[in-house]
Each structure stands twice: as structure tokens, then as C-alpha cells.
């Protein structure tokens, strides 16, 4: 690994640590200034003040805030966010379980978005101004406008209830991944199709494409090898953004499909004042954003010699 790249990575990692510590502080302050005692929520109507006080003491909620924050910060660096107040499991285990679910759906969403989005974008660019282009752009506009949870319910109705070809809920089989992936991926596929079309149109008008054609290269080779490769940089940026969003989970789609992903974990945690869960999830999401940005920056350099050269100079 060359020195400049190593320096770049170390620098970004250091920035990541600063960002994450900042996130822990902001999250800690916010969950502690927000009204709502988690123990009172936990016990709802069924306990007197003395019982609540006793449980608070046992859970360490009566310790001074700076002690609580220091404990939280210290433990966070070893990935220990404590136990969920309600689920009684380590937050680390809940995050791992949620990540396994959300991550597996993210793969499906990514495959669907790339396959549909890029393919449709290329086709729209190639057939610019024709019926195929107009149809694809219409569908992509609809895809961007449809709320994921609504689409999810429609997909459940059509493919699960009426046609009975795909499971309505759960993630018990490969087939069960299809509807959540399509529901979540539609908006990304639609955006990707439009983005790909724009960049492809730009690339197809470049001199090197004309040169390739004049040299007798086949149309498929011109589109895929010459035009698409150069149109891929903005698409890659978008894919990075897409991954960041997907890995944060989607509470609505997860609820509709009865999936225990990260979105539901975080929102349930917020609703119930489950402080360890809120803190764990927030740090996880912040870490995903920081990491994905780093990966995108590194991949840029790998696929685009101009960016690599700029960094070296």
C-alpha cells in the first residue's frame, strides 16, 4: 500500500473516531434531557414511586450523569452498549441480529436496484426519445413517488394474497426476501435509472465513444465498455448513499413484513425510552455512514485514475 493512501486512511479513521465520540455525547445528552422515565414507561400503570425508584437504582439510572456517560463511552469502545431495558438482551446481540436481517435484505435491495436501475437507465439512454425511454422514465417517476410501505402492502396483496406465489411476511425462505427487497429497492432503482440515463447520455456524446464507433466497435461494446464505465462514477456515489440508507433499516417496511430489522429496533427503542438500544443503534448508524464514506473515497481512487492522480499530486 502506498504511503499517501495509508496516510489518507489513517487520517479518515482518526476523523471517524472524533465523529463517533461526538455522536455518543450528543445522543447521551439528548436521551437524558428528553422527558420520560424509562422505568415509568416500563412499569406503566402498575407500580408505586418507591418501586420505580428501586428499579432505577438497580439499573444504575440514579448515578450522576457524568458517571453514566463515562461508563457508556468506555464500554462503547469495546462494543458493549449494555443490556436493553425491555428485551434484557445485550444491545450488541440485538444489533447483530438486526444487522443480519437488515444486511441480508440490503443485499436483495442492492441487487434489485442495480439490476433494474442500471439496466433501465442504459436502455432509456440508448433508446432516448423513443417509447421505451418514455415508458422507463414514467415508471421510474412512479417508483420514486410511491411510498415504500404502500408498495409493500400492494405487493403483499398481489403476490401473497391473490396470486399466492410469494410469502406475505417473515424471512423464512429465499422467496420471502423478494417482496421486501422490491418494496425497499423500488425507489433506489427508480433513482438509479434516472441517474444512469443522464450520465449515459452524457457519455454517449463524448469523443471517445465516437472514436470507438468509428473504429468499428460493436454497439453493445460501445455502450457497456466505453460509455458505461465512464458514467459509473456518479452512480457509485449514489450506491454508497443507497447502502448507508438501507443499512439503517426501514421501520415501515420491516413492520409490514414482520421483520425484526434495525429500523424496528431503533424506533421501538425510541418509543420506549430504551436508552441502551437508542445509543447502540445511533452509534451503529453513525459508524456505517463514516465507514461507507471512507469506502466510497477509496473505491473512487481505484476505479478512476484521474482521482488517484489528483490525490498523488
Amino acid at each position: 500500500m502506498d504511503f499517501l493512501l495509508l496516510k489518507f486512511i489513517l487520517n479518515r479513521l482518526w476523523q471517524a473516531v472524533v465523529v463517533l465520540v461526538g455522536v455518543t455525547l450528543i445522543v447521551f445528552v439528548m436521551v437524558n434531557v428528553a422527558p420520560g422515565d424509562p422505568v415509568a414507561v416500563m412499569m406503566e400503570k402498575k407500580a408505586d414511586a418507591a418501586t420505580i425508584e428501586r428499579i432505577r437504582q438497580q439499573m444504575g439510572l440514579n448515578d450522576p450523569l457524568y458517571v453514566q456517560y463515562w461508563t457508556f463511552l468506555k464500554n462503547s469502545f469495546s462494543g458493549d452498549f449494555g443490556n436493553s431495558y425491555f428485551q434484557k438482551l445485550p444491545v450488541r446481540a440485538l444489533l447483530a441480529r438486526g444487522f443480519a436481517v437488515t444486511g441480508s435484505i440490503a443485499v436483495g435491495v442492492l441487487l434489485f436496484s442495480i439490476a433494474v436501475g442500471i439496466l433501465m437507465g442504459i436502455l432509456a439512454a440508448v433508446f432516448r426519445g423513443r417509447s421505451a425511454d418514455r415508458l422507463i422514465m414514467l415508471v421510474s417517476t412512479l417508483g420514486m413517488a410511491l411510498p415504500s410501505f404502500w408498495l409493500a402492502i400492494i405487493l403483499q396483496l398481489v403476490f401473497g394474497l391473490w396470486l399466492k406465489v410469494l410469502p406475505i411476511s417473515g424471512l423464512k425462505s429465499f422467496k420471502a426476501y423478494i417482496l421486501p427487497s422490491v418494496a425497499l429497492g423500488m425507489i433506489y432503482a427508480a433513482s438509479l435509472a434516472r441517474l444512469t440515463r443522464t450520465n449515459m447520455l452524457d457519455a454517449l456524446n463524448q469523443d471517445y465513444v465516437r472514436t470507438a464507433r468509428s473504429k468499428g466497435a460493436g454497439e453493445t461494446a460501445v455502450v457497456v465498455v466505453h460509455a458505461f464505465r465512464n458514467a459509473a462514477i456518479p452512480i457509485l456515489t449514489y450506491l454508497g448513499t443507497l447502502m448507508k440508507s438501507i443499512l439503517g433499516g426501514s421501520v415501515l417496511v420491516e413492520t409490514v413484513f414482520a421483520i425484526n430489522g434495525l429500523g424496528r429496533l431503533l424506533v421501538d427503542g425510541i418509543m420506549k425510552r430504551d436508552i441502551p438500544v437508542i445509543q447502540g443503534c445511533t452509534i451503529y448508524i453513525a459508524a456505517v455512514f463514516v465507514l461507507m464514506n471512507l469506502v466510497i473515497d477509496l473505491v473512487y481512487g481505484l476505479i478512476d485514475p484521474r482521482i488517484r492522480a489528483a490525490k498523488e499530486s
Partner: protein
Amino acid sequence: MKRAIPFAFLLVFAFVSATFAATDSDGPKVFRYAYHFADLELLDVHKHTTTDVMQAANPIGEALVRIDSKGVIHPLLLEALPEMSADGTLFTFKLKKGVKFHDGTELRASDVEFTFNRIFDPKTQNLNTWLCDMIKGAPEMLEGKAQTLEGFKVIDDYTFTIELGEPYAPFLAVLGCEQMMIYPKKACEEAGSNWGLTTFVGTGPFELAEFSGKEVMHAKRFEGYHGEPAKIDELFIYVMDQSTALMEYEAGNLDMVRVDNDVVAPYKTEEFAKNLVRVDLMGIIAMNMNVNMPPLDNVKVREAVSYAIDRQGLLRSFLDGNGTATNCMIPPGIAAHVDRPYEYNPEKVKSLLAEAGYPDGITLEAYVSETQEVAKVAVVLQEQFKASNVTLNVNRVDQGTYVDMRRAGQVQVPFLTWFKDISDPDNFTYTFYHSTSSQLFSSNWKDAKTDEMLARGRASMGAEREKIYLELEKYLVDEQRIVAPLYNPVFYYLVADGVSGVIYDNSLLRFYEVEISK
């Protein structure tokens, strides 16, 4: 390139088309039930207060006694109901012999002792100690001053006694609650923090096969059950969003689903009516009035407000008949319930308010949690009150804020939603109106006469006891007007053809007699 188009579409839809195959089929004796059990996070009944957990735990664990849907108490893990001393404080229990836990060990008095000690051990962080903290020595254990429960004595392997600090008439009913199910000492200790998550062992007709919080509880018939074995082989309780559960039911993938009242209308039609079951619950939806916050400190104003409620209008126009209007805090089916008449009379409201010194009407502030179903009811009352010159401002806040405010006694008009824990009038009166607990529900009612009657009610038995609660309920609702009961709620369930034997025990379902004959 044109040749690439069909190929491209083929690629795009390969993702979907490869999967179009027949769906799996279930075994013949598998019962699948679903609802959006938001709190089904674990199975340990000591660590949660909600019905969601009790529902999933009750096929597996059992308490010492069972209370049937009519409120009659039967011995379950006992040879007979316990003998009670003359002063009503000492109970002697004899365990049924040969009762096996799912791990093969036999139920002994030491398991019951372990369970009761665990209930009060501060390390357990039990949220339900309030149910039975009248047992002698319970306060000392909770405060960490004692290691074991003074009031619990093991006589031999099958005999034990429980002594109460003071007489408590509903004690046997308390012992029938899910929160009092008996845990096996060995299995529970070995499981440690995994108890109720990956391990959960009881004496019930089903043994746990798999549990995934907020997802599924899967249990199988326990062949060594001490009573009549379950008729089904497997039981699944799924956590599902309401619309998803209804779709799964309609697709034939569920045998039973609970239907929320606000989406039940389409299922009252001919197509589904034969499968729709309505359960009238021992519960109450009511509007408390905070006597510390003027003008509700004036009994005449409280009386006026109670006449501003159009219960029939609420039930007919908004709730679509999904409930039963009431003017009694104690629900039907529980001792001391009365069918007290109620009246909607805006003119009487205005007149009473004028007498109380508010000729131009009053303004009240209600706070509701955004997650409460009763929040919508509050908005309906807001409209109804306008005709009586009563302005009801409905403030929606998040659950945490609402609970904080209500417990601090700072909500002027708090709404109560309460389903019985035990079939006893004490559960609907002491809980809200004893001076030690009234602030938690924002009525702030602190009254020596009420406390005295509640204490007498706890210490009395039979007809005398019922008389006390009749008098008390009348005093609270009809004379002091600290609460305006609104309606008794109902639940709806869709049950598939061929399914029978589900026992509707108020808000809980019991599955041990379920039969499937498809």
C-alpha cells in the same frame, strides 16, 4: 442492441420469476395465531407487565390455581384449594404429586419457594411485585433487608404455607395470575440471564420449541402434561402488523388473528361474520378528574362534566358499537358491578356550572399519549363537550412524557384504560383511588373514608365484601364524581373454519383445548 432488450427484461425479472413455485404446507395439527404484540420481547413474566408477554407465556407455564372465565378459582398444581386460617392470613397448600416440568424434574415445594423468593429478589427486577407484596416479609426482601421470604415456609416436598402481613381477600385470585406461574428452580438457575429468552420451562401443556423476541413463540405439545394433554401438536404465536396478519389469515396461513376495533368493520360482513368472535372484556375505559386542579376541585363541576358525556353517541357514531356504554367503574362479571343509569344533558351541565360559579363554561386540559387508542375517544368528547360550554383541550404527547405527567399527578383530565389483572373489585378501585396510588393516575383523590372502605374490602369476605364495594363504587362515581366511566371495551378475533376450543379468558386466550378439524 435491440436483441439485448428481451434479454435485459429476462434478467430484471429473473429475480422474481425463479421463485414462482408452490408454497409450503403446514402439518394437520399446527395452530397459528398472530397479533401485533409490541411488547413480546421475552417470556419471563416477572420482567414485563403487559398481556403480550402473559399471552405467550401462559401455554408454557402454570400458576398454582386457575381462574375460569366466570371467575371461579380451581386448583391447578394443587390437590385442592388451600386451607385458610380463621383470620385470613395463613394459607396451607398441598401440591399435586407427579407434576412434571418440561425438563423432566418433578414439581416440589422447593420450586414454589424458589419462585416466590425470585419474585421479591431485587436482582430479578420484577415489575409485578405489587400484585402480591402483602406476603409477610415481601417489603423486607424488596428493600434488600432479607434474603428469603419470611411468609413462605416449606413443610415437606409437597406442602408449604404462605402467610400474609394482613388479610387480603383476593389473594387466591392473585395466585392465579400469569405473573405468579411457578418456575423450576434447577432450570431457572442454570439458564441465568437466558431465562425467558432461550430457556423457559414450565408445567404447562406446551413446551417451548423456539422463541424469537418480537417475532415468534413456537411451542410443542408436552407429552408428560399432568392434566388433559393438548389436542394440537404445535402452537405458533406470531408478532405481526395488523394488516399483514389479516392478509395472512385471508391467505389461509393463520388460524386465528386478533382484529383491532378500528379495522373490524369489513369483517362484520356476511363473508366473515361466522368467523368473527366478539369478546366483551372485564375492563374499563374511563375519564378521571383531577381533584387538585381547579375547577375540578369542585364536586359540582365534576358532576356537570359527567352530564356532558354522550356515551351512546360515542358508542354509536365513533366506536361503531365496539364496546358497551357504562357508568360503573367495576365491569360486568366482577362482584359489585351495577347497571347505573347515565344521562347526557348539556342544559343540566350549564346549570350546574352556573351554580358552581362558572356561568360562561369551563376549560379543561386533557393529555393523551400518542400511542393510546383512547386518544381518539378524547377528541370525540372534545366535540361533545362543546354543546355544554365545556372546552376540552386535547394535548397529544409521547408515551414517556405522558407517563411522567400522569404519575406526577399533573394531568387535569387523564383517561384510564384498564383490563382486569384479577377478577376482583379491588383491582378497579384500590389501584386508582387509594391515597397511596391516586396520584399515579392523576386523580389525586386522597380521602380517609375511601381508604377505610378499601381496607375493609380487602379484609372481608362474601356478601359483606360485595356490599362494601357497592357502597364504595357509588361513593366514588355517583357522589364524589371523581371519575366518569365511559365504556367496557371489546376485542374481536377471526377464527378459521375447523378451529374450536379456544378459551377467551378476558384479554388472554387459552389454547390447551384447541382442536383443529380441517
